[in-house]
């Protein structure tokens, strides 16, 4: 029989350790709450409200990223200019900043001491403790994921196709909607889902800006603080279930894309 090199076993060990590291806590979390407990939790108004709030604020953040980020992502995929690297680093900034700092930073320009805050209050927009505030920080943390995925998608579309389209009479805008966007649509969808998943899981930034209205992660934290592990688990179960569905959707889409190309 062929004897395996030591490195082979190192690789196997690495796989086993990492799988256990991720899966053991998750399995424990998902199996600890009893079925009646789960049923009872999902019937609670507060829980349902906070999960729904989590989903729709994250969805809005994803939608805003799509609308705001798509033109920039396209620009970055096509144009070469001075300072492009700088812009790309700035886009990645929200990924590296500690989450509570994001919340503090947003609050610090939303206050009356800052001209942005003054404009906002003149417009009647409140960031602190509002759904608007939640959507703002979720967009802040989710945007880089969307822009990077969309940019990659646009980069994969050959500029030659756009050139041909232009030569056949299509304007830049028609070319974008008829050629570039459809061909990059899968990446754009993947980007939007990644942005959504990132936003759903945000806690640190939101808890600074808006403890109430309560999104699901804040509620889980509150129950853990007030009643302990056992009472936070059922809410966590429902949130994780939601994230898993998002994740599976993402995997299915990328797998489908690989098969097609």
């Amino acid at each position: 029989m062929k004897t395996r090199e030591l490195f082979f076993w190192v690789m196997i060990a690495s796989a086993v350790i990492i799988m256990a590291f991720i899966l053991l806590p998750m399995i424990q979390l998902m199996t600890a709450p009893s079925l009646p407990m789960l049923k009872k939790t999902i019937r609670e108004r507060d829980v349902l409200q906070s999960i729904w709030l989590s989903i729709y604020t994250a969805g809005l953040a994803s939608l805003i990223s799509f609308v705001l980020g798509t033109p920039l992502a396209y620009l970055l995929s096509r144009a070469q200019f001075r300072g492009k690297g700088l812009i790309e680093s700035i886009i990645d900034l929200p990924i590296v900043i500690p989450h509570p700092v994001v919340g503090i930073a947003i609050l610090s320009i939303a206050g009356r001491g800052h001209w942005v805050g003054q404009i906002l209050s003149w417009l009647g927009v409140r960031i602190m403790g509002s759904v608007t505030g939640i959507v703002t920080v979720l967009t802040f943390v989710g945007l880089p994921f969307y822009i990077n995925a969309a940019k990659e998608g646009f980069e994969a579309v050959s500029p030659r196709l756009e050139k041909v389209s232009r030569s056949l009479g299509a304007s830049m805008l028609s070319t974008f909607f008829r050629i570039t966007f459809p061909l990059a649509s899968r990446s754009i969808l993947v980007g939007a889902i990644m942005c959504l998943a990132r936003a759903v899981s945000e806690f640190g930034a939101v808890v600074i800006v808006a403890y109430h209205p309560m999104i699901a992660p804040v509620m889980i934290y509150e129950r853990f603080e007030a009643y302990g592990l056992k009472y936070s688990q059922p809410v966590a179960f429902w949130l994780v279930a939601l994230c898993l569905i998002l994740f599976l959707l993402l995997r299915m889409l990328t797998l489908y894309r690989k098969k097609r190309s």
Binding site: L161, K163, R166, L168, S171
Partner: protein
């Protein structure tokens, strides 16, 4: 009629310098040059797809230099076909009609005619990903022609094809050009392609036009060493002129007339160089004895290199001639060519 006047383009990797070309209406014009010479850039400049630094491009009576590509009345076909992968063959073909005001029955008439001419009917509902190279290029041609452009730009449309498809697309190009009154401008690095398709041509090298004229002129009378070598004149020799003679290291080559310059190049096409074992008694004014240094198999022909002093002459002969004359490396032979076969530049 297309006129390009003093055109300058400066991209980072490629540039064009002082390009002047005039192409008559309904011509099949070929732009030749080696890889990286700037042929595609010139094509894209005509199409309005790269920024122009200075100069003018005039198509028909319109100065299009500052117009966007969609307003220039051109179509472009690329070597890699550039079909839209998310559209069916039919949707690819009729893509351009969305942006042109063409009546429904006229649309139908045009697409039917092209589908017929390019034999595409059985492919209409397939996606580009499943087609062969020749089929893809036929679709690309149909897509480009359906908008009835004034000018069709072709960027090495034959290079990526298998030989069998190449013949087919070349015939199609010939036929389409005859049937339409569209000016064709095609880029190629293959002189043989140019010979079989075009009437007029330009040779481009390093972002500059080396020579422009009829194919025959470029083939027979290259104006520079680069063009001579590009069109297959292997025997390019630097010489000094002395009366009607051109002198190079002990050889006196008769050129048939006097030249008003001291130095330059002469070139002789390898198929004009005759090889014999004995001195030939013929009207050929140039005849030299030399040693065969190399015999190369070129498929239908053999390329024989003969050294006369320090000068090498290349001759093309058939396999039959090679065997009849018993030519092999190391033997002494005579090379002969007419004074009229000597091109001076």
């Amino acid at each position: 009629m297309i006129r390009i006047k003093n055109l300058n383009v400066d991209l980072e990797e490629f540039f064009l310098e002082d390009i002047n070309i005039s192409i008559d209406e309904n011509q099949f014009f070929i732009l030749m040059g080696p890889t990286g010479a700037g042929k595609t850039v010139l094509l894209e400049a005509i199409a309005g797809l790269v920024p122009v630094k200075s100069g003018r491009i005039i198509i028909g009576k319109r100065d299009v230099t500052r117009l966007p590509p969609e307003k220039r009345g051109i179509s472009i076909v690329y070597q890699d076909y550039a079909l839209f992968p998310h559209l069916t063959v039919l949707d690819n073909i009729i893509y351009g009609l969305h942006f042109h005001r063409v009546k429904k029955d006229e649309q139908k008439r045009r697409s039917e005619a092209l589908i017929q001419q390019l034999n595409l009917r059985h492919l209409l509902h397939r996606y580009p990903g499943t087609l062969s190279g020749g089929e893809l290029q036929r679709v690309a041609l149909a897509r480009a022609l359906i908008i009835h452009p004034d000018v069709l730009l072709l960027d090495e449309p034959l290079s990526a094809l298998d030989p069998a498809f190449r013949e087919e697309i070349r015939d199609a190009l010939n036929r389409l050009h005859r049937l339409s009154n569209i000016t064709f401008i095609m880029v190629t690095h293959d002189f043989a392609e140019a010979l079989s398709l075009a009437q007029q041509a330009a040779v481009i090298n390093n972002g500059r036009i080396e020579q422009t004229g009829t194919i025959e002129e470029i083939f027979r009378c290259p104006v520079s060493r680069f063009v001579a070598e590009f069109v297959g004149m292997k025997n390019c020799i630097p010489v000094r002129f002395n009366g009607t003679n051109a002198a190079v290291e002990g050889l006196e080559i008769e050129t048939g007339r006097e030249w008003a310059k001291e130095g330059g190049y002469i070139a002789v096409r390898p198929e004009d160089v005759v090889i014999s074992r004995r001195p030939l008694h013929s009207s050929m004014r140039n005849s030299f004895q030399g040693k065969v240094t190399c015999v190369r198999d070129r498929g239908f022909f053999y390329e024989v290199v003969v050294r006369v002093g320090d000068t090498a002459f290349t001759s093309l002969i058939t396999k039959g001639a090679l065997l009849d004359l018993g030519i092999q490396e190391g033997i002494m032979v005579w090379v002969s060519f007419k004074a009229t076969a000597v091109h001076v530049f």
